[in-house]
């Protein structure tokens, strides 16, 4: 039976990770001794090869386990407790597949599976260049992977079956307990309606991929520390892994915001919920890391700092997973209280302490090769960038854990809400965006104020003119004006960088503008990919400023034909339908006509879906999107009989679409930066590089 096949694969996968870590450990042990002796003795290829194969084996085994679970979800095998919990017969196939990550046990298996895809790829690639590092890489990745597989085997088994005693009591067990009969419920409880949304189908896998992606650079960093090979090789080897992890984490954050906007029905996209914070925090340290490795590569500085950042990112990834799953915080995303909390806490503590011990052992070897020279230089701008990223991380982290900490030390739970985060991180983000505009203009080592002044003069004046125009058009909020000014200024300096590079190429090669720009970007992918990401961030900033300072809302009860006005918009209530859909919903759908400045824009259908089996209603907004704003209407209440009156809540969210557009630009920029270089000389090297997962 599939449940046993799945469980057996899980147990074997756990064994494989254990064996791989053990054999890798043996090969480390065999090759111990002073550096020279170790180099002479070498690592026994057979031992290491055995570890490598076992480590790879986790991938097919976990694939088998995950596929078994998916097969049972799709074929409605309700004797499996997990299947009965998260699916029901009325759910379409694609939702049953995605139910793999709809519950605690399944999503832990999914996490482990995705991670094994990353570790499996590392094992497959040619690793001659990093052979010396591999034993430790295997130990670190296999311990992490083994931990997550262990959670599913011992605490949250997705394959556990339902049994019933003669007394009628329901028991969950893998193997039939004496005196019980198999219990096969006629139908399952169904996936939480909130998760039945396209955004929810890809948001969790993206976040998980982002999370697991950072395990690889962390493992290489630990190996570099262990073998005292603290040059920049580990950073070069893992650069693409880091970017891949970062790409997926960014995608996960953006899609999560979009899901909240479409489904949660409160007109917003980010609520500083603890679990949102838990995914933002590692993204912040990872972003700091991506920037500061550039200084190490160029100038041989900040080696200790980069180690600290990658250790922090890894620890925060695990911590974020812990927050989501242990039920220690109340959140939209919280899974119920679970026994895995202490296991997580121990794991985080042990890995963090071990990493720190390795780091301090190597502390003296991680000195900078060069020194800071000028206060106004690219290096110091990067340093400030890192300081701000870490400060924002600390601010968000502090706000997130403050309820726990205050309860431990004062016995009184004290919480903080969105106002805290907005007030604390707002100025820091503003400083960061401003820095983003200036930093790329600064020279390495030393810049002069005059030089910088010349470069920023045009964007500076232009952005001030724009602010004056905005002011003339009635935008008077100082915060909004400041936000728009920063955005315009930074957009100006960034675009000017593209312009300068393109113009220079056109002068020297005689290419036309388009060819010059694309060749410029193709030849300097990291640099111009980075600038493209910066442009995406500016678009997002504009959207955030617009929605933060100018969101409007109103509500009202309307009879048929009556209207509600908000700003330039008028909404007319024209009808209401109630009908049952065969996937187990009763839908109440209102029709409204939306006018702006007297011009009809179209009809919207805000609705309320009532899921019969879970007895849970779900409010789906009607949204009319445009470049300048979204008109967002919720059906709040209606009279079932007669249906001649209904209550609506409407929002106008200015510039909200700039956030999604910015997200797209951001992702494109990341792809440009991560894409393999095209020069033939490098292609040879990269043919051996890991495939992008």
């Amino acid at each position: 039976m599939l449940a046993y096949l799945g469980y057996l694969s899980l147990v074997l996968a756990l064994g494989a990770t254990f064996y791989a870590a053990l054999m890798a450990g043996v090969s480390i042990w065999e090759a111990r001794g002073p550096r020279a002796a170790r180099r002479a003795a070498g690592i026994d290829p057979a031992t290491l090869e055995s570890a490598r194969r076992a480590a790879f084996l986790a991938l097919p085994l976990l694939t088998l386990a995950a596929l078994s679970l998916i097969a049972m979800l799709v074929t409605e095998q309700y004797q499996v407790a997990y299947v009965a919990d998260v699916t029901s017969s009325s759910m379409p196939i694609y939702l049953r597949v995605t139910a793999l990550w709809g519950g605690q046990a399944g999503s832990l298996l999914f996490w482990a599976w995705l991670m094994s895809a990353f570790t499996g790829t590392v094992m497959l690639r040619k690793w001659e260049a990093d052979r010396e590092l591999m034993p430790v890489v295997i130990v670190v990745t296999m311990i992490t992977l083994g931990f997550f597989i262990g959670l599913t085997v011992f605490f949250e088994n997705p394959f556990v079956l339902l049994w019933q005693t003669r007394a009628g009591e329901v028991v969950q067990a893998m193997f039939q307990p004496a005196g019980t009969l198999a219990l096969v419920p006629a139908d399952g409880r169904g996936l939480n309606p909130l998760l039945r949304h396209p955004g929810m189908i890809i948001h969790p896998p993206m976040l998980y991929l982002g999370f697991v992606g950072f395990v690889i650079p962390y493992a290489f960093a630990m190996a570099a520390l262990f073998y005292r090979r603290v040059d920049t090789q580990w950073i070069k080897t893992t650069r693409r892994w880091t970017l891949t992890g970062w790409l997926f984490l960014s995608l996960g954050l953006i899609l999560g915001g979009r899901w909240a906007y479409d489904v949660l029905g409160w007109g917003g996209y980010w609520g500083w919920d603890p679990v949102e914070n838990a995914s933002l925090i590692p993204w912040l340290t990872a972003t700091a890391f991506l920037h500061s490795v550039m200084i190490q590569e160029k100038r041989g500085m900040l080696k200790k700092w980069n180690m600290v950042l990658i250790i922090l990112t890894y620890a925060l990834v695990i911590f974020g997973t812990f927050l989501t799953r242990s039920g220690v915080l109340s959140s939209v995303h919280a899974f119920a209280q679970s026994a895995i909390g202490p296991a997580f806490f121990t794991f985080i503590g042990v890995t963090f302490v071990a990493s720190m011990v390795l780091l301090f052992r190597e502390w003296d070897h991680l000195s900078s090769e060069t020194q800071f020279e000028g206060l106004l230089s690219r290096e110091s701008a990067f340093l400030l960038n890192n300081l701000l990223f870490v400060a924002i991380t600390a601010s968000v982290f502090w706000g997130t854990v403050f309820p726990m900490i205050s309860e431990i030390f004062t016995g009184q739970k004290i919480t903080v809400g969105p106002p805290f985060y907005n007030q604390v991180t707002g100025p820091q983000f503003a400083a960061l965006v401003l820095l983003m505009g200036v930093a790329p203009l600064l020279a390495w080592r030393k810049s002069s104020a005059q030089q910088l002044g010349r470069q920023i003069l045009i964007p500076f004046v232009a952005s001030l003119v724009l602010v004056a125009v905005l002011f003339a058009f009635g935008i008077t909020n100082p915060g909004a004006l400041f936000g728009f000014w920063i955005s315009a200024f930074v957009a100006g300096t960034t675009l000017l960088e593209f312009y300068r590079g393109t113009a220079a190429r056109m002068r020297t090669t005689g290419e036309n503008a388009l060819v010059a720009l694309s060749t410029l970007m193709a030849r300097n992918r990291r640099r111009y990919g980075g600038y493209t990401i910066h442009l995406g961030v500016i678009l997002i900033t504009i959207g955030v400023v617009g929605t933060t300072f100018y969101q409007e809302e109103t509500q009202g009860r309307l009879r048929l034909g009556e209207q509600l006005t908000l700003g330039r918009y008028v909404m007319v209530y024209t009808g209401l339908d109630e009908f049952e859909v065969d996937d187990g919903r009763i839908v109440a759908r209102a029709s409204v006509e939306v006018y702006r400045d007297g011009q009809m824009l179209g009809e919207l259908y805000p609705r309320r879906d009532y899921y019969i089996e879970s007895q849970q209603p779900m409010t789906i907004p009607g949204v009319r999107s445009a470049v300048e704003d979204d008109f967002y209407v919720l059906l709040v209440e209606w009279e079932s009989v007669g249906a001649d009156a209904a209550t609506f809540k409407i929002y106008v969210n200015p510039l909200v679409n700039w956030i999604w557009a910015g997200g797209l630009v951001f992702i494109v920029g990341t792809l440009v930066a991560a894409w393999p270089e095209s020069e033939p000389r490098r292609r040879v090297v990269l043919a051996n590089a890991p495939a992008r997962a």
Binding site: A105, S330, V416, G417, K649
Partner: protein, 178 residues
């Protein structure tokens, strides 16, 4: 540090002031950010109380910004669609996770609180909000707002948790509004 710089070779002497500037600048920024966090925390922190604690403190809490949690009593939920005003009563449950677990888990605690006629109850008023999908009998309500002079809790934010349905899995909670 400054002494060694003074006696050292000129190369080092020119370097040290730069380093000092970096350290000073960094400390200044770190200090400013710590000040920002601390002062904002003092202004925006919300004390988390149980219904019993609020009742025991009586009028002394009036006007202060706080958070409270309790079990929603289904039959007391009223909704005025004209003004979008929600009112309901919630019964006392312990705030402490450990106590919740001792008493048999959230679902049981909520159930017992609702059927216990002697449990203290607090009236909650929420203005300008759609009726949340999860507001129903035996849901856990976490409200943020202020205590009124009239002994009612005026909530700006209403979070709900229904452990009975999805006790094993999935986000068992949705926001009632921001």
């Amino acid at each position: 540090m400054t002494q060694t710089a003074a006696v050292a070779r000129p190369v080092v002497a020119t370097r040290s002031p730069v380093k000092l500037k970096f350290v000073l600048g960094g400390l200044l920024i770190v200090g400013a950010i710590i000040f920002l966090i601390a002062s904002t925390l003092a202004n925006t922190a919300q004390y988390f109380y149980s219904v019993d604690e609020i009742k025991a403190r009586g009028g002394s809490l009036a006007g202060s910004n706080l958070r409270a949690s309790g079990a929603v009593i289904g039959e007391t939920i009223t909704y005025d669609p004209e003004t979008l005003t929600i009112t309901f009563e919630m019964a006392h449950i312990p705030v402490d996770d450990a106590k919740l677990n001792e008493a048999g888990g959230l679902a049981l605690v909520l159930h017992n609180a609702v059927i216990d006629p002697s449990a203290q109850r607090l009236t909650v008023v929420v203005h300008n909000q759609p009726l949340p999908d999860l507001l129903k009998n035996e849901a856990q309500a976490i409200v943020t707002g202020t205590m009124g002079e009239d002994g009612k809790f005026y909530a700006e934010e209403l979070l709900l948790k229904c452990p009975t349905r999805y006790d094993e899995a999935v986000p068992a909670q949705a926001e009632g509004g921001q």
